[in-house]
Symmetry: C2
Subunit: 359 residues, 2 copies
C-alpha cells in the first residue's frame, strides 16, 4: 500500500491532455483535467521551465477580460531517437518528432556474423543523436530477444547476445535517458498509440523469430519476469512438426518465422500452402489466449510479402472455428501498417511514455 | 483522461491499510499511508460514521501525552452474504465475516430440471440474510456462465438461463448491494485474497463445465466483453476428439469437465488414464496463455477426487515440455484448497472489494 504521487500524476495528466487534445488555455486545461486554476497555473509553469510545454501566443476567442495564452506540448522543441536492432544485417536508427514521424534516418551494416558488436550499436546511436535538430528527449530501442526490467538484453540469439546491459551502455554513450524493449513490445506500442489498434489485442511479430505482446484494457502486459509474449517456442498442436533451433519439435516459429516461411515457400514452388499452414498454426496457438483474455483483435506485424491474404484468412478462420461463438463477439485479424518503421516508432513511443508520461 | 477521485481513493487506502495491517492509531495510519494527520482524522471520522471502522480503546504504548485510540475495520460489526449457484442440484448460501470465514450456511435443493427457478435463488438469498447476526455489507454471487458488467447472466446452460438480470433481481429482493461474477472469477478472487496464490496466475475451474480466470500483476482481468476465461470450448490439439455439447469437436471440456471425466473414469475401469489425458489436454490448451502472459502459477479448482496426482502431474509435465525453458522461470501447477467453499468465499471477496475498496 503506497500513497499516490499527486504532483507527478497531475503533471502527467496535463502532458497527456495537451499531447492528445492540442493547444489550449490554462482555463481550458483546468476544465479538461478537473484540477483547479491555481494548480494548473503552477503545473504549467513547471512544464514551461523544463521545456516540455511552450506558449503559442494568445487565443483568438473573444472573451471579456484579457485574451488567454495557449499552451501546447513542446512539439517542435523536442525530438526522440529510435533504434531498431531486428533487421537482417543492418542496424537502423532514426530521429523522430513527438508525433512519431521520422525526420532523419541512419543505418549501419553489420556482417552476418554470429555476434553483433555492441560498439556498432553505440556508434549508430551517437551518429543518430548528432542528426537531431532539437533537444533530444531520449533514446528508445527495439531489440530481438528477452529484455529485463532494467534494460538488460538477457538473451537474443539473433544478435548473439547474453546479458548485455544495453540500456546502461547506451545511456553512458549518449548521456540521454534510454528505454529498451523487445521488438514485439515496441511494435505493439506503435500499433496502439499511433496506428489505431483497439484496447485489447495481441500483436504477433513475425521476423527472424516470432514474438508477441499484449495490450489489455489499454495497458501493456510485460509479465512476472518481463518475459510475456514468448510464444515463438510454444508447441503447436499435437501432430509433431519440424525440429526447431531451440531443440523442441513443432514450435510456432518452425512454421511462422520469416526465414522458415520463406524456405517453405521456395520449396512449395509457387503454392500458397505454406502461408495457409502458417496462418492455421498461428490460429491454433493463439485461440486459447484470445479466450482466456477476451481479446477483440489480433494485429500481425512483419514482412508484407508474407502477411498476405492466404495467411491472414487461414488465421482468421482457424480462430473462428476453435472458439466458442458469441453472437456479439468478433475477433478481427488485422495486419499492422508501416512494417518497416513500426519498431522504430514504437521504441520512440516508449520514450514519450517514460519521459512525458504520455501513454 | 479523467481526474482521480482523491477522497474516494484515500478512503480506500485507509480501509485497505486497516484490513491488512490490523488495528492502529490515527498517527500510525498517517505514517502507513503517507497522508497528513489532519486528512487521516477526517477520513477516520467518515469511516466511523458509516460503520466501516470502529474504535478499539486506547493503545498500550507508553508515549508522552495522551494515549492514542486504536482504529480497526469494523470486523465484528459487518457480515457478508455469499451464494454459490454452481453445485449440482443444490443452491448454496452462507453468512461470512470480513475475513472470509463461514459463520452460517443455507441451502436449497433444486430438481434436476433444465431451468433453475430464479425465485429459488431469491428465496435462498433472503433466508441467508435472515441468518446474519450483524449488519450485512452486501451479497456476492458466484454463478456458472457468462456474466456481463451489469450483473446480468448472459448465458448459463447449467442453469438454463439466458439474459437473467441476477444482480438487479437480488438487489430488489434483499435491499442490499449485490456483486455477481462467474464462478471461476469468484474462485480466483478467493485464491488470491485468501489462499495465498501468486500475483500472476490462471485459475482453472473444473465443474460441470470448465472455466478460468486470470490475475495478472495482482489485477483480475475480465476482458473486453466481460467474457475473459471462456477456455472450456477452445479446441485442444488437432487430432479430433469427442463431440462437445456446444457442437464443436475436441473442446477442452470434453476431456476435463467433471461429468465427462467421471464418465471416462467409469469406462476406464480403475485406470488413471483419463486423468492423465485430461491433465495433458489442459496443458496443451493453456501453455500458450502462460507464454503470452509470463504467468508463474496455474491454480486448479474443482472436485478433490478428480484433481489428483495423475492429472496435476500430467498438466505440469505437458506445460514444461511445450514452453521455452528459461533457467530462472518455473510455472507451478497447484490445486486450490477449500474446494467446497472457494466460490462462496470468493463471491464474498467481491463484496469486500466493491463496498470497502479492499483488494
Amino acid at each position: 500500500v503506497r500513497p499516490r504521487h499527486g504532483r507527478r500524476h497531475n503533471l502527467s495528466l496535463v502532458r497527456q491532455t495537451l499531447y492528445f487534445d492540442g493547444p489550449m488555455s490554462r482555463a481550458d486545461l483546468a476544465r479538461a483535467t478537473g484540477l483547479t486554476r491555481v494548480t494548473i497555473s503552477d503545473l504549467v509553469t513547471e512544464l514551461l521551465e523544463c521545456g516540455h510545454a511552450r506558449e503559442l501566443g494568445t487565443s483568438s476567442d473573444v472573451r471579456p477580460g484579457k485574451p488567454s495564452t495557449l499552451i501546447d506540448i513542446n512539439r517542435p522543441g523536442l525530438q526522440i531517437i529510435g533504434l531498431d536492432l531486428t533487421a537482417h544485417r543492418v542496424l537502423r536508427g532514426a530521429v523522430l518528432d513527438l508525433d512519431g514521424v521520422v525526420l532523419a534516418r541512419t543505418e549501419r551494416r553489420v556482417d552476418d556474423v554470429a555476434v553483433v558488436d555492441l560498439a556498432d550499436v553505440l556508434d549508430l546511436a551517437r551518429e543518430t543523436v548528432a542528426l537531431a535538430t532539437a533537444p533530444v528527449l531520449g533514446v528508445g530501442v527495439g531489440t530481438p530477444g528477452l529484455v529485463s526490467e532494467d534494460g538488460m538484453v538477457r538473451s537474443a540469439s539473433n544478435l548473439g547476445w547474453t546479458d548485455v546491459p544495453l540500456r546502461d551502455e547506451l545511456a553512458t554513450a549518449t548521456g540521454l535517458p534510454v528505454q529498451v524493449a523487445n521488438d514485439a513490445a515496441s511494435a505493439a506500442r506503435a500499433a496502439y498509440t499511433l496506428l489505431g489498434a483497439s484496447d485489447d489485442f495481441l500483436l504477433v511479430r513475425i521476423g527472424r523469430g516470432v514474438g508477441s505482446s499484449l495490450i489489455v484494457g489499454g495497458t501493456q502486459l510485460l509479465g512476472a519476469h518481463h518475459a510475456a509474449g514468448e510464444i515463438g517456442h510454444v508447441t503447436v498442436g499435437n501432430d509433431g512438426g519440424a525440429t526447431c533451433r531451440c531443440g523442441k519439435v513443432g514450435c510456432l516459429e518452425t512454421w511462422l518465422s520469416a526465414p522458415n516461411l520463406e524456405r517453405a515457400l521456395t520449396a512449395a514452388d509457387g503454392s500458397a500452402e505454406p502461408l495457409v499452414e502458417a496462418g492455421t498454426r498461428l490460429g491454433i496457438a493463439i485461440a486459447p489466449v484470445i479466450a482466456a483474455l477476451d481479446l477483440t483483435e489480433i494485429v500481425l506485424s512483419g514482412p508484407e510479402h508474407l502477411l498476405t491474404a492466404p495467411l491472414v484468412e487461414a488465421a482468421q478462420s482457424t480462430i473462428d472455428s476453435r472458439l466458442l461463438r458469441h453472437p456479439d463477439v468478433h475477433v478481427a485479424v488485422n495486419v499492422a501498417a508501416d512494417p518497416d518503421d513500426i519498431v522504430l516508432r514504437g521504441a520512440a513511443g516508449l520514450v514519450l511514455s517514460s519521459q512525458l508520461g504520455v501513454i
